[in-house]
């Protein structure tokens, strides 16, 4: 067994990645901070924090609350704006040989299209994540990914700008009645892949103030607490659309967790909250995953993707 090799490379649409574990958008800033703990070339890709057209302050503090096996965050897309980001952060990552997936977030369909146009103009980016599900915008009613029509509109606007040069990955929320319905709407509108799942909307009430603890009142729940929700969402969507690549995320903190998402149907796995608790979580998870795949007789990631579905429909 020991001399067996395993192919850890993976693909999302037409983008190739040397390894299967990625950062999760919003959980690695733009990559610099983690680069002092490991070489960014060792991992699949850096998925950068969702960036909007203009610089934003985000939401007031407190912005986080730890919960059992998880945490709530309420950042509100604080960021430098797309121009500053593309001029500074992306070149820094590319110079170091990291694969980069840029995540964008807009308030309107037009903003998504404008962001896509700016991203398209920068060479070297591997894929575009279109975050249509950030729970920390002022008016949660405008979360695109809660409805088929608004989800499709946002993706359609991006598709008109990006015609296949890099894959478009739509990031969806699990806070919907039927995630496969939203998934099929964005795929029909031109998404090449799906990022599943964003955080789950939650709230903590502070017993001292007897008011919502977070400055933004509600926040996104992440961490091991939501992993079964992610596995379920990935499993359902892969079952409905087995050919659509999925970047899975949600509470992964070990190789076994990553393998679970891959067996459910994820081609790559993003790690977010685990990096907060352990800055070297991503390379560790990648090592653990390789050992687990080998132990189960897999010679590549690709063979394991969706393996949990193998006896379905028989």
């Amino acid at each position: 067994m020991s001399n067996q090799v395993i192919d850890l490379s993976t693909t999302l649409g037409n983008a190739w990645f040397p390894a299967p574990i990625f950062t999760a958008s919003g959980c690695a800033s733009s990559g610099k901070e983690l680069s002092q703990f490991f070489d960014l070339r060792e991992i699949g890709a850096v998925v950068t924090k969702s960036v909007m057209n203009k610089a934003r302050h985000g939401r007031p503090t407190p912005r986080m609350a730890e919960t059992p096996s998880g945490m709530l965050n309420s950042i509100g897309l604080q960021g430098p704006g797309i121009d500053h980001f593309l001029a500074n952060d992306v070149p820094w990552l590319l110079e170091r040989g990291a694969k980069v997936i840029v995540s964008i977030a807009g308030e309107t369909t037009d903003e998504y299209a404008m962001l896509a146009r700016k991203v398209r103009a920068v060479p070297g980016i591997s894929a575009l994540e279109v975050n249509i599900s950030c729970p920390n915008v002022e008016n949660r009613g405008m979360v695109f990914a809660c409805e088929r029509e608004s989800s499709a509109r946002a993706i359609d606007g991006v598709r008109k700008i990006i015609g296949g040069e890099i894959p478009i990955i739509a990031k969806l929320t699990p806070d919907v009645t039927d995630i496969t319905s939203i998934a099929s709407a964005v795929v029909d509108a031109g998404a090449d892949g799906l990022a599943l799942i964003n955080t789950v909307l939650g709230m903590v009430i502070n017993l001292d103030t007897m008011k919502p603890h977070l400055g933004g009142k509600t926040g996104g729940l992440s961490g091991p607490a939501i992993r079964p929700v992610a596995v379920r969402a990935i499993y359902q969507v892969h079952s409905a659309m087995p050919d659509v690549p999925i970047l899975g995320m949600g509470g992964v903190s070990s190789g076994r967790d990553a393998l679970e998402l891959i067996l459910a149907g994820a081609s790559g796995v993003s790690v977010g909250t685990a990096s907060f608790g352990d800055p070297t979580a991503i390379p560790r998870i990648q090592r653990e995953l390789a050992a687990l795949l080998l132990a189960r007789g897999f010679s590549s990631i690709k063979d394991a993707v969706g393996y949990a579905h193998r006896d379905e429909g028989m």
Binding site: G26, C27, A28, S29, K32, E33, L34, S35, Q36, F37, K49, K54, A55, R56, H57, G58, R59, P60, T61, P62, R63, M64, E66, P68, S69, G70, M71, N73, I75, Q78, G81, H84, G215, G223, P224, S253, T273, A274, S275, F276, G277, D278, P279, T280
Partner: protein, 283 residues
Amino acid sequence: MSTINKSATQINATILSNKRVGAYHQILLAIGDLASVCKPGNFVAISVGGDSSRMVLRRAFAISRITHGSASGGAMELIVAPHGSGSRWLCEQSEGSEIDIVAPLGKPFGIPTQPVNALLVGGGYGSAPLFGLAEVLKARGCRVDMLLGASTGSKIYAPLEGKRSASTLKIYTEDGSMGESGRVTAPIRDLLAQGAVDVIYSCGPMSMLRAISELTEGTDVVHQCAVEESMACGIGICMTCVLPVKNDDDSISMLRSCIDGPVMDGSTVAWDVVGKVPPAVHS
């Protein structure tokens, strides 16, 4: 604005000793060569609860003091109040056990190159980093006066310790159970008026840091304060520990207290905006 904590390293540190001191625990960790890059004002992020912990986030503690060159190499001292589940777990760890730490983190206190009159002000368990700082300042020939305050006497950490590391020590408790009755900020106005202070170093609750910043406003006295903002990661990736800081053009940036702090120039913090959202960014 900084981008990363350059010297930050993740290591397993052995607990050399763990002693209860009043309401606190004094914990000594063997950190080897890491001691040479730790400075007063830096903090450490510690993984708590063990492998199956439901506590997924590290806990941040100010480094109280660094010692060099003992038999086991460098050591880091922490003063921990066991008031939450994470700090209680840490205080329960026995001598010899290993804990996962990331250090040193954050921007340390600035140390003057010339001897100055330094006033160190600590509130509650916020006084921890001031003891190591006092020693460094005294070694530089500074006069070090220390004021420690708390709601009640049991929350004052090791007053003897403070006396040893400072030139003078005064204690204030709100209930009068130790030292003078009143707030630790009470004597500062007079000290400033006497011209007895060049630099104030402070650590404690935000309300105390803000009050000192208001007292030093319009004076030549530099106020270096170590802020407390809840944080998830300590290494600059989670964006939860931000603080509104004024730029040169009077606009405000939300800076991470784990990277651009915890030590900040009190006169640049937009205290009235803490916990709020500053006006929209113009670019």
